[in-house]
Amino acid sequence: MKNKYFSRLKRLKPRGIQSTIMFAFSVISISIILLLGSVLYFRFSAISRQEIIQSTQKLMEQAGESLENYLVSMRQISDAVYYNVIKENDLSSQDQNIQRGMNLLYEANRDNLRSIAIYNNYGSLMAAEPVASQKEDPNVTRQDWYKQAMDEMENMHFSTPHIQNLFNDSTQRYYWVISLSRVVELTDNGDTHLGVLLVDMDYTSISRMMKQINALNNGQYYYLCDSNGEIIYHRQQIQISKGICNENSGIAANYKDGIYDETFEGEQRKVIVDTISYTGWKLVGVIPYSAFTHGMINIRYSIVALVLLMVLMLVVINRIVSVRVSSPIMKLNNSVMKYEAGEKPEIYIGGTLEIRHLAHSIQSSYEQIDTLMRKIVLEQNERRKSELDALQSQINPHFLYNTLESITWMVEGERNDEASFMISQLAKLFRISLSKGRTIISVKDELQHAQSYMNIQKIRYKNTFSVEYDVDQCVYSYCTVKLILQPILENAINYGVSSMDDCGEIKVTGRLKADNIILSVTDNGIGMSEEEVSLILTDSSRVQKHGSGVGLINVNNRIQILFGKEYGLIIESEPDKGTSVSICIPAVPYNEENRKILEKGHIFSKEEMIDKKQL
């Protein structure tokens, strides 16, 4: 199962550098933006929530103050009626004063008042303002406000809203009032007895105040209830009483002033409670949690739009950055791929310093590879050419013709012993020349080959020159390239001693010097100038005037191909004094193993040479 997901992930993994950079940049930047967006939203949301709660509290404080002021003014009216009107006048003798005083107070506050009335302890109406006829039997003593006043005489009592059931209103209307009742002492004919002063406040004053703060349409609302949870004002008062909806007023009435979290009918909400002093009424502000989000919806979409816009721009920027970063690498990669495909493109050099450096390195590497390849090819060609030349020298027809002609003359002149010697030398010469097709032979065989060659040449040149061999025996058992002495000896004869009369001398020496073998051919011939010496090993265009055609350059190349550049020919010459050509080769013991290694083209290092010797 895991493998399945991993394989899917692997498939999703971007492969190109541009995709990788773009993907990585995008993931990081989008994650940061999403994180920032979320943090911004939650922070903003918390602040907004706090602000809503604070503004609600402030609004409730103001509304509470307005309500308190209103209720205080009602109490002041009640106090004024009681202390300035009722207590100052006798009901029976000064009823006009009482009526006037009540009228004055009523007219001053008629916007908020429905009526002011005084009842005696039997429930009979003593005075009322505005003047109105009482209903036939309003049963005052059984009305709540009267009972409350009589039950607790020392207090003023605010009732819950109710229909005023006292007066016969000719307009056939019924008024919703809140009654403020208190027990008063009435003076009637000098006698004092108890009565009840009723101030009926117009409910519309309170409902107007509450409607003003309930104007918000975001689900947030305020209601007013008494200390028992009885609703005084609620925007859905009738719906609640009819059971269409409910309110948690019973619980809210028990809350102290403050902010509460509650869940009511599955809805989470914040409830802010403020107690209206003296009455014990509770002004309750309800903020459903949906109201918090109501104001946040636009902000939410703004943040979403902003985040999306930033993502949109970042994707573009990431694309540009990734293209700019990856473009030089991709161009470099493309040129390398073309190179690998066999084309010869220009390696792209561009972009940043590091990529330029890399491109330069790749370019120089390819250039070096090209040079090396060309060199290898050249060396191989030269090797083949040298070998071909060497092969040709093995069967130099001119030499063979001359030798055979000399032998013929000897036979014809019945110099049979000389002819026999020459034939045997020729046989040795060819045996070593062939050497079973080997390139590497022992120094001894090479010297033997040189001796055979020189013996033949001496006969041919009728001993006009002498040959001396001074070779240390210790060099015999080392490896050498075959047929390297013969071209030198040929040159020594042709250019050195051939023109001299019986005084030509050629000396062949062989020494082991510091891990090297030095084979020298020295003649006392005409010698060469320094310029000519310097041209012998460098000017391959020189045409051989005499001999097998195998030049010293060829010999030098063959030595260097097989033993390395540090080996080869050393030519020393002075005009009229003679020439010395020395072959310098490493002292590699001759055995089958070393021969095969050398013939394969392996060049021994110094250390290997030492090891070989020790063995």
Binding site: Q18, H162, I163, D169, Y174, I238, Q239, K242, L308, L309
Partner: protein, 324 residues
């Protein structure tokens, strides 16, 4: 490379679409959603009897966020007048209409045609007279039950013995299916009680019309089967023009309550007009919100008021809704 570019363009296009969508939603949110508009066409819309109904409509409109408008009608409408009033409202953007049907055989057809354009909810009673046959939904009280309740209250007052008593029935109109149902409910309940229906008059009386209740033969009870009739009977009783007859009736105005409160009526059966308004508009709102839902008939309750129970807490709320 090409694939990457294609993917990039697609991604950018997708993000651009999302940005545009978010901005559009934001702008749409700022402009605010269009609120449903519902027009209410009732006869004699300024009459006091509609106070509780209109308060119910207003409360439902506030609760549901509906733009509600009660068309002002001076008096009784004809079918043509009602039709043109409804069409005017529809032309002015009403998404639905609440209609008190004109008591006429043509009303049903006319309203049915209107229903093809916008949802129609009837109030008070059905248009066809026969509730079961009506094809249009209606919200209103059970008129038959109210008539029966009134009769039961009468019987209760006399311990079921009203044999030999006489009564007169007063209705505003005999065409109204409500009046027919109420009378039927009343008479069905009093069947076999021995009470005699001396007279039955219909109309709007405001003076000494020949067939006014005051000019009718003396009866023991006057039964007023609608609010107008009850206030008429109450005013005649208050003026002592009913020859001492006791008034029993159905009504839903503060005037009707006043006559009960003052003792000019013995019993008042009050339909829950608040709920008629509230429930009819709520039902319309639900229909507008759910295209495939259908409007249902809604029957609201009624309350029997007596003078001594008039100011009970639960009954005060009826008065509260009537006083708005």
């Amino acid at each position: 490379m090409k694939k990457n570019r294609k993917l990039f363009i697609l991604l950018e296009a997708f993000l651009a679409v999302l940005v545009i969508a978010a901005v559009l939603i934001m702008l749409w949110g700022k402009n605010g959603k269009d609120r449903y508009k519902v027009s209410v066409i009732i006869q004699n819309s300024d009459d006091n009897q509609w106070a509780a109904f209109k308060y119910g409509l207003r409360m439902a409109a506030e609760d549901k966020g509906i733009e509600m408008f009660v068309v002002s009608t001076g008096g009784a409408l004809t079918v043509e007048e009602e039709k043109s009033a409804i069409e005017w409202e529809i032309d002015n953007g009403a998404d639905a209409v609440i209609v008190q049907p004109v008591p006429s055989p043509d009303a049903e057809e006319m309203l049915k045609k209107i229903e093809n354009k916008v949802p129609v909810m009837l109030v008070g009673y059905t248009a066809s007279g026969n509730k079961d046959a009506s094809r249009l939904p209606a919200t209103g009280p059970d008129n038959y039950a109210m008539g029966a309740a009134l009769a039961e209250e009468l019987l209760k007052d006399y311990n079921g013995n009203i044999k030999g008593k006489t009564l007169g029935i007063l209705t505003e109109t005999t065409d109204s299916p409500a009046a027919v149902s109420r009378e039927k409910g009343f008479t069905d309940t009093l069947k076999d009680t021995g009470v005699e229906i001396s007279w039955s008059v219909s109309g709007v009386f405001d003076g000494n019309e020949e067939d006014s209740p005051g000019n009718q033969p003396k009866v023991d009870f006057v039964i007023a089967l609608d609010d107008n009739s009850l206030t008429t009977a109450g005013s005649y009783s208050a003026a002592n023009n009913l020859h001492g007859a006791l008034v029993y009736g159905i009504g839903n105005s503060t005037e009707a309550v006043y006559y009960l409160d003052m003792g000019f009526a013995e019993c008042l059966v009050v339909p829950d007009e608040f709920n008629v308004g509230y429930q009819s508009l709520t039902e319309i709102w639900e229909k507008l919100g759910h295209y495939f839902s259908s409007l249902q008939d809604i029957t609201v309750s009624h309350t029997v008021l007596r003078r001594d129970t008039l100011f009970l807490k639960e009954n005060q709320e009826i008065l509260f809704t009537m006083s708005q």
